[in-house]
Amino acid sequence: MLKILKYSFYDLSRSRWSYVYFFFYLLLGVVLLFLNNDLSNAVITLMNVIIILVPLIGTIFGVMYFYNSREFTELLLAQPVRRSSIFLGQYLGVAISLSASLILGLGLPFIIYGLFQSGAIWDFASLLISGVFLTFIFTAIAFNIALSNENKIKGFGLAILVWLFLAVVYDGLFLLSLVYFQDYPLDKFSLVASMLNPIDLSRILILLKLDISALLGYTGAVFKQFFGTGLGAFTSVFVLILWVVFPVWRIKRIASKKDF
């Protein structure tokens, strides 16, 4: 698998899109930090980018890479290589190169800005960790979709729909049910609902480092108690890991049954 990973990574490192992605983050980081000069504002803007853009790019890039590397895949399938290694190798190649673009693109301007002297380093670290998790999750989802759909257009459409659902529609339904059932205690419901969507979960994990913690205290004690404790942090990370593991496991399963 490491060999496949190496070649996927090598292949991607020569793809123009990896650089576009990297320079986009670099530019964003530089603009936010050096034109705005306010770290806390930069972190908030970055959060918006990370919870919306990172999943979108992970999804599109994952689907695109899968369809575009079909020949490579077929070539590999005839070689004495384990099937799951091929797909996991390619998946890791995409996810790692996207994460690297994210970490380097945002990290460099922050390091130059003097992040390590700043108290915002933990906010920033939680941003990057969430970003990496989201990249791994949505790339895995994208691979799932692409593996199950031979038709590229259909695959792309489905991938965008999944992203749209998790990024926007889910929150809409969430809000609707909160408003509709507002006469009932909703603490536990909102806790579970926000755990189930990786975008919401990442958003809350980042917000806990920023402004929401006091506001949460203002509303539901259950929420704050949960996320404020070690158990909450542990559970959140665990759920995020599940969100990676389950789609990856499904990649393996579909791949072992698929005909080429």
Binding site: D38, S40, N41, I44, M47, N48, I51, I52, A167, V168, V169, D171, G172, F174, L175, L178, V179, Q182, L186, D187, F189, S190, S194, I199, D200, R203, I204, L207, D211, I212, A214, L215, L216, G217, Y218, T219, G220, A221, F223, K224
Partner: protein, 412 residues
């Protein structure tokens, strides 16, 4: 005749110079403060040398004394009642350290209790482990300055206030540090007084608390990490300037709580990292001018019956909610403020955005109705919702608009 007059004057001066000075120390003739007080005449000076004096309920009545501690002598009240209580005119107390004031549910024991007094000064004392720190009632024309008052208040019922003023006039409270009490500074029926440059930190309830007090000024104070920074209730003509309200962070925490207060002004204050920077309830004719609201949960939360307030030239920087309203009615004016969330443009380059700004979001309205919705803060769906509400307001006050939002942060 002239000569005689001069002699008379001279005699008069010498008598006042002849004011006695009494020293108190362990090896002195006078070993306790109470004895010194009992021996002293009007105008005498009592010098207390360093050491520990286990005394409580030291009482001074109708004697104008100057009490000076040298080398920070300690008065240990051994948890029994008040340390010093005074009823007099023209006196001063300085340089003492008072510890272990008694606690009670029925009596307001204090480090220094001043009642029915006038023209006094309490300065540079240290009060530690007190119930009430400095308690003042029915008094006027006093200065309380440079004191450091600390305690470890755990709950409101068993703790007292740092500086507690009740029915007072023309009092100046300045340069004090008050940490870990119930209320840092408490004023009830206190008029024409000034609260200047104090630090109120880690107090259980409020850093500064006004009740039924008018024509007062507080300026240059720092309120940090209190249950709530400042509460101004049932008062009018309060001048609030150059204060910092910081880190009043937690459920139901405020930077500044305004309740039934009229005709006042807030100017050049800084509100940073508060759950709610200002909560206004029944407040009328208040001018908010050139304040900074930075990184608060809510910058301004308007509850019921708030009329004719003017918000002008303030900076609203990265608050989760800039302004939150409970109803759809708006009788207040927002103009010429800088809003970090403003995304309009300025084509004519006059420094004023060409599109008005709506500071109240639909989301703040939703959170008000369904508090749990706060978990959706800063999600894309909410941003879209807020955007559509801004285009055509349905739930939020339609006329709540800053017609002249500034393009750049206001320097004041």
């Amino acid at each position: 005749m002239g000569r005689f007059y001069f002699l008379f004057l001279f005699l008069g001066l010498t008598t006042s110079f002849q004011a006695q000075e009494i020293e108190v120390c362990k090896s002195c003739e006078v070993k306790t403060i109470q004895v010194a007080v009992d021996r002293a005449e009007n105008g005498d000076v009592i010098r207390i040398k360093s050491g520990v004096y286990k005394e409580h309920d030291i009482t001074i009545i109708d004697k104008s004394l100057t009490i000076i501690g040298e080398g920070l002598p300690v008065i240990d009240a051994e948890m029994e009642g008040t340390a010093i209580s005074i009823r007099a005119e023209k006196f001063s107390i300085e340089g003492l350290k008072i510890i272990n004031v008694g606690r009670s549910h029925t009596n307001d024991f204090a480090g220094i209790l001043i009642s029915n007094s006038k023209n006094f000064e309490v300065k540079n004392n240290r009060l530690d482990q007190v119930f009430f720190g400095i308690l003042l009632e029915n008094s006027s024309d006093g200065i309380i300055s440079g004191n450091k008052i600390t305690s470890n208040a755990k709950n409101q019922a068993t703790s007292g206030n740092g500086v507690h003023l009740w029915k007072a006039e023309k009092i100046t409270v300045k340069n004090n540090e008050i940490i870990g009490l119930r209320d840092g500074i408490y004023l009830e029926f206190v008029n024409n007084s000034e609260i200047l440059n104090n630090l109120c930190k880690d107090n259980l309830r409020y850093g500064l608390h006004f009740m039924f007090s008018d024509q007062d000024l507080y300026r240059g104070n720092i309120f940090e990490n209190n249950g709530a920074g400042v509460a101004v209730m049932y008062s009018k003509f309060i001048d609030m300037q150059d204060n910092q309200f910081r880190k009043n962070w937690g459920s139901a925490s405020y930077g500044l709580l305004l309740k039934e207060i009229n005709d006042s002004e807030l100017k050049n204050n800084i509100f940073e990292d508060n759950t709610i920077a200002i909560s206004a309830d029944n407040t009328n004719r208040i001018n908010y001018i050139e304040n900074d609201f930075k990184n608060n949960g809510y910058a301004i939360r308007i509850r019921g019956a708030v009329y004719d307030n003017i918000f002008e030239r303030n900076n609203f920087l990265y608050n989760s909610f800039d302004v939150a309203y409970t109803g759809r009615l708006n009788e207040n004016k927002f103009i010429n403020n800088y809003w970090s969330g403003y995304s309009g443009y300025d084509l004519d380059k006059d420094g004023i955005g060409d599109v008005p700004f709506r500071p109240v979001t639909l989301f703040s309205y939703l959170v008000n109705k369904t508090p749990e919705a706060i978990v959706l803060l800063r999600s894309m769906f909410i941003d879209m919702l807020d955007f559509s509400e801004k285009v055509s307001p349905i739930f939020t006050p339609a006329d709540l608009i800053d017609e002249q939002p500034q393009m750049k942060r206001i320097q004041w």
